[in-house]
Symmetry: C2
Subunit: 357 residues, 2 copies
Amino acid sequence: MNEIEENLEQFGLSVYEQIDKGRSPYMKIPQRGLGNVSFDESSRMLVLGDKHSKRYYMNVAHTRKFMQTLLVASYCRRLVEEGKHAGIRELYYALKHSIAGSRENTFDDQTESNAIAEDIEVSLDLLREQLNLTADRRGYMYGDIVIRDDGDEFNASRLGRGGWAVPGTVEDIEFPEVSAEYILVVETAAMADRLIEEKFAQNNGAIIIACQGQAPRGVRRLIHRLHYERNLPVIAFTDGDPYGWYIYSTIKQGSMNLAYLSKRLSVPDSKFVGMTMRDIEQYGLHSVTERLKSTDKSRIKELKSYEWFKHKKWQKELELCLKLGVRIEQQALANKSLEFVAKEYLPDKIEHKDFLP
Amino acid sequence: MNEIEENLEQFGLSVYEQIDKGRSPYMKIPQRGLGNVSFDESSRMLVLGDKHSKRYYMNVAHTRKFMQTLLVASYCRRLVEEGKHAGIRELYYALKHSIAGSRENTFDDQTESNAIAEDIEVSLDLLREQLNLTADRRGYMYGDIVIRDDGDEFNASRLGRGGWAVPGTVEDIEFPEVSAEYILVVETAAMADRLIEEKFAQNNGAIIIACQGQAPRGVRRLIHRLHYERNLPVIAFTDGDPYGWYIYSTIKQGSMNLAYLSKRLSVPDSKFVGMTMRDIEQYGLHSVTERLKSTDKSRIKELKSYEWFKHKKWQKELELCLKLGVRIEQQALANKSLEFVAKEYLPDKIEHKDFLP
């Protein structure tokens, strides 16, 4: 029995033992709400506090969730034992109406089973992926790294212009050979494709990871593993707007709703290369900015108030953005020339460590 | 000069020649609106009619679009000559404010440049991808096929559980070796990943292509090329709901807003394996259906009215859906067992050609 199975068995046993002793069984579940999330200065991550809730079988307000928690935990145990993976939507359907002899709708919709999966993840201090539950996937990877997965071995810079589609679960992947020197996380597929076409990965020793919007769990976990297991620095390259900057902060400090996963998904040493407000002046991009909408402005004010954006360089950046009243996208660099981003912008900024922290 | 360059040059020359003759130059642009789209019985595709508009330089209502069209066409010519590709967002930024000595905003937003790119595509009867313009990409591929792209050669069934990320442009890709026997287009990534884990591709000679929602252009073009160049039958597997069925119909007959591309993107011989309303009865899936919303119902009625859904089997399917008042997702099959879809559902239906047309 491996550690994960033991963990799950222990979870079930504790319920059995309480019943054996004639008690109303309960589970202790860490609270995941914002009231229990804070920014930890020493680890520089968003972390969960130690507030817990107790979930009692004999409390009618809890019984349904109690039942759901045991259903999901026992399903995960089966997955882990059989070495199978299930999507969280599969989990929902697999367990819906699954109590024999009853017409009870065990889950009304998937938000219920998703929440329970997160409860178990945080209670057992395990990644959902270690329980063989996979989230939806997005994103791809291109660069000089040999990947070993499921009996296959290939170099992620030898897959044409396509790159390797990053799966939802990257727990079992090995990296037998890494020649690249750092990871460049890129917000948009179009920009990643530009860099692939310009041979940026080859010429600069970079692994390009396209996250295609907010980085999905598989991509975040992959970045985390490559950083901590293979010492690769992480540099983020997003649009110069509050959404891009938040994508960066999620990679760096974690996200508020998955704060309990920060230590497994985030990389506090990440750096931000662009787009920045200073780029607009420095590279003469005034004519290709876009005006901020009022929702952008309120989002910027929110970011400004977050503890993990308190560094004076970020405060200045956010203030400048409000002052200029514009945003700037990665693709705007195409206004200089298609090659510009790969031949000048990124190499210059990276060589001179012209980063935001 | 290749055919594409000649085509673009001819486009420019015809404007020059009109000016030379002292005429107000114009371009003839096929209309792309729904009023010029119809279902063609003989080719079994959505096609564009022969209505045209004339775009005059000396008509103030046309001048701006005239200028935009020439800007985009000349940019495409440069791309093709230099063998470079640009995303449509890059195109937008590259050409914004690009008239020297003028502060004229050549494009107010990207919808303008997108529309012009489509105008040129349809006027020249070329794929945007042949003009080296790429759309955003999504989707991945897994199966026993050797792909040659950009100097690399690899087997798309030897990339671990990730699969090959399908690029936005697949024009230059070659298929030196195809051992798989058919293409299974799968709507959701979660289902594609299920099939990859169950070794469905290996055991059934299938190439799995995950389109992750409505199939993007790169994926549609790839399916089209594999079908016509390598004789691979195409089988679609989507959710059993109007959105899934429409994904199928786009792959099969083309889409209304890209009707002029049907002959390059669609595959009228495609078959539909599921999910169907009959599956609910046949496989006892009543407990894992979801109730139709009113928007679902109106969408079903729309589908019912489309000429290309007039086959009596589809009419029956759509009527049954309205009558049952439910939809059924691919993942619902997990209610039987995780293996069920790969070991029974798909092999049985495919062997018995239990398809909708």
